[in-house]
Subunit: 337 residues, 4 copies
């Protein structure tokens, strides 16, 4: 931790800060320059984390040296984390695709969609049973019935299931049916939910919040990891900016940045990021080119009649084309699909 | 709902959309201009809400006419909502101040702070028992013990209590101790939590999410109201922008905008918005000048040793000064403090 | 400057950076911690400004200690700058109001407006002769004829003139007619324009760019000041965020932050920030409450027929009311209007 | 144009708006629904552009039907624009790369860099002679001398030159030396500069402003095109968001969106967007995958000693690798490099 004093800081103010830091068990290196006095606090920075040094008189700014995340960082573990879900590896050479409808609607629609995304080349089936909707008047999902449909579709296709957890009270139920628990963007800082999924033995797909920095995204992963569960897939799905041409702004730079910072696999969800089906294929190609370990794609057999997110859903035939396109890209970056 | 077609839209594409709208029970007004064909869908717009018209071939854009919130809107109820908490009115002539520490730490500190904010003129005591912290390694709050301390402080000072709910499983417990349930910014779209607080008979203080538009903020209030609980206080606490000089950017324009759109009372939290105690008083004055019904202010008897948010907490003496300053402003806008 | 090395940095990489800094004439303080090696570069930080230390192998991050602005900073000059324009002081006890139409349209309209804003209590008349318009097909201003109208209105009312400079080629012409040169938000980083206005002896009203941080805003002021002209008025006029309920988001926190950082006077333009006349009065009140030295308000005698920004223009009667309201606020903060 | 009235709008208010629209020569279609009265204004929407209908009493909102840009839109011209610069085609099958140093520093460095980027496969040489720098104390470019060096490098390598125009007074000078005029992000709404480059017969590379929507970006292109020059290359270079891990957030979704909206070629500048050389290659690959017509890459023979942007410059060897990587991607999307 570096503490920079105001030009006007008095000797008293400076020694007060020095004493404060020493009392917490850290050593102090004091440097008086012509323009500013600076303190380097040497030792376990986390001891200072909850001390409001910036509130002390005379202090201009406080600059942490270390990153706040540990278990999820590359410094902690250099090799990439590979997650094995029923024999399907995530974070290894193969680019993995999770596909399926936004929400589970009927058994027939789901089975049809599951069969077709499997044919197209998807490795996982997604489908929401519990749906976070902006409006209380929109379709909220089928609940447990939806989970049962997903289990049925899994039995038929062999595709492992990804579905969202919205409420800590549903975790046991969800764990009976799904293979990967999804934490949605709006719950990225629902710390109780993160703690709960940190305690189960299921991989977690954690979506980046609309207004979350990469640092905060990794801190949320750290919440999960700190409870013991390190099978975490990070998923960028667009951040909120001033641009309205797309629903959110897909931050593809986050992929190589995350790859430098963490050992966890990184996925991209171009469907929610853009909100428009016509943009999904080009951005999926870009995602694979930039180094993503996988994609999450909304597919619906009948988007016109979808109860949720029809605008951004691909029809199965378009999805099959997308899979071919990303296959070509994957080959040029030394991966497979 | 207005549907605008692409210049290239075919007759077939247009009639497909017309049929789709009619099949949902709405009337269609078709207008063929030189540049564009336009449809006005006449009838209950909510019937179209989950129909992805933008996904239909030939459609360029879809423009809703009505606002998505109902119960919380001024159109629904013109007179301002006044909430009575143990005889203290919120949303009436008097500007109300909720003050207290970020988190409950010890009984002594809390009682000291409660006594002093009461002397300063606060109407409510705040204090977190369950704390949403960015890092899993930070102090997470005292839990039920913290609630008991709050109850004790209430007994001593008579100040009603405001405290945050993070988990639907805690709602019964919280309701035993607190007078206003706070929903934090990070949970503004935790729809399960909103549904739960919509079913109890306690006023709710709903904080705006960091990346929430005013429309989404009102939709979250609508979630609560749609369950029957309309005693909702809206609280703006800064939105996330590119500016880093303050923790977030306090959106004071939201106050007059919300006053036009909704009948609910509107509060401002300048402590979390700015993250710096030295900015709290000027922004509190601005908040009262712009028409806020109340303020939420962090006060700590010993900010240097606070376990949470010390940088932004006022000492009791500064808080007393703040109360005097906003008293003057309130008088010029026809209110009292 | 503090340089933090990656955990993986080698001895060679570290000594390369040390040598680089020494070769630029700075002293080096090296500190090897358990987690990270850190260098403090001691001496004139500006010598390092154009050295891309972050590009050197082994470097994790570089943290500057000093602020990049000098002449405009409080450290450089503690007392507030007071600008005298024809005897009217800006930045002193009196809150100053610049009012008038967005663009100069006709002599009659301008004279009418000027007379009325003077009656209302404005200290300066604004009016655009050169207009930066988003569309090439919109009204672009009257040019020199507009300046002549402004001079005429000044003769009649005695109000000094504020008008915008868009092109370095117009500076001499503009200086003949106006008393304060405005640099618009879109030109805040038009460095050639800044350099030019830095060389004349006219006060400059510099508007904050839509996407400019406070630091960049001050750097643009520094551009002007570095050429010799320190009569600079800073004007916050809304920043671009995701919120669409207002045209931009007025950042009122910028006022107390700027007051801490710089000695220059700070104005607020609520008309452009909100884009809606109904929000102008409450935000003007908030601006005075938060400590602004002045306001810039769009007033038009006939907003319905304005060629520019009619939506956000107050009628003269509404403006007179606004002046009364801010008079009350000013009194409670120890100022006059 | 659709005009939606408030629920509370009176008959008088509605007829006032009707009269206003009719007086401008448009026809009016009035529709009274249960919830809202709506007007469709039929005819030339541009006649209404400068009429502040939202300011009229009773009006809730105004929704334009048509896009504000014309000449640059796909509706106006369906086939892609191909620009021929000395026989090198931009916007055709081949992905084009502009490479070179941020600023021209010495003849030797420039020649060395030019030779190497040519060997690597670049089609154009970039280099700033006039530099927009955030600080007045940073290197501002060599001016005309820099242009002469560029001309020299062109003579030696045959690479056409791209360089930035900052000031309308320099346009003649610049046109003598360069083949493509660059308008920088900070000048995207410097309308005088846009007008000037619209009047010359040189292709223009227009960079997107940090806070510019895609609509505003196209309006700036329209400024140029409206003067007669339609040889415009659009260049996305990162937008300003809350994320600080990269300098700006590269908006790759803008590529397919722009491809739908306009016939102009679209380039990507990953160097400025990210500010970090290690991110340039993966994002270049993503840019080609998503459909960009070209790239603009900063290359410096000695980044450690660069006077500008060393952190984001690739060394020539890294650039050669990048070219190979994008070659593979280009092949899978049916293009060449």
């Amino acid at each position: 931790m570096i503490i920079v004093f105001k030009k006007s800081a008095t000797e008293e103010e400076i020694s007060h800060v020095v004493d404060r830091i020493k009392s917490l068990g850290l050593a102090v290196h004091l440097s008086k320059g012509e323009e500013r006095t600076i303190i380097g606090a040497i030792g376990d920075e986390s001891l200072l984390a909850s001390t409001p040094l910036e509130a002390l008189p005379g202090v201009e700014k406080v600059m942490p040296i270390l990153k706040p995340y540990k278990v999820v960082s590359r410094d902690f573990k250099a090799e990439p984390t590979v997650i094995d879900v029923m024999g399907t590896k995530i974070g290894a050479k193969e680019v993995r695709v999770i596909a399926g409808p936004c929400s589970v609607e009927t058994m027939d629609l789901l089975k049809d969609c599951a069969t077709k995304v499997k044919e197209g080349g998807a490795s996982f089936l997604r489908g929401g049973a519990f749906k976070p909707r902006t409006s209380p008047y929109s379709f909220q999902g089928l609940g447990e019935e939806g989970l049962k449909f997903l289990a049925e579709a899994k039995k038929e296709t062999g595709l492992p299931i990804v579905s969202e957890l919205m409420d800590p009270r549903d975790i046991e139920l969800l764990c009976e049916y799904v293979d990967i628990i999804q934490i949605g963007a709006r719950n990225m800082q629902n710390f109780r939910l993160l703690t709960e999924v940190g305690r189960v033995k299921k991989p977690v797909l954690l979506k980046r919040g609309l207004a979350a920095t990469i640092k905060e995204f990794l801190m949320s992963a750290e919440y999960i990891a700190s409870q013991g569960n390190t099978d975490i897939i990070l998923c960028e799905r667009g951040i909120r900016t001033f641009e309205t041409a797309t629903r959110n702004t897909l931050d593809l730079s986050a992929v190589p940045v995350l790859k430098q910072e963490t050992h966890l696999p990184v996925f991209i969800d171009p469907s929610h990021a853009t909100g428009k089906w016509s943009l999904v294929t080009p951005l999926s190609m870009a995602a694979v080119a930039v180094g993503a370990d996988g994609l999450m794609i909304e597919v619906h057999s009948d988007p016109e009649n979808a109860l949720c997110d029809g605008e951004q859903s691909l029809k199965p035939a378009k999805f099959a084309e997308l899979m071919k396109m990303i296959g070509g890209i994957a080959a040029t970056v030394g991966r497979t699909v």
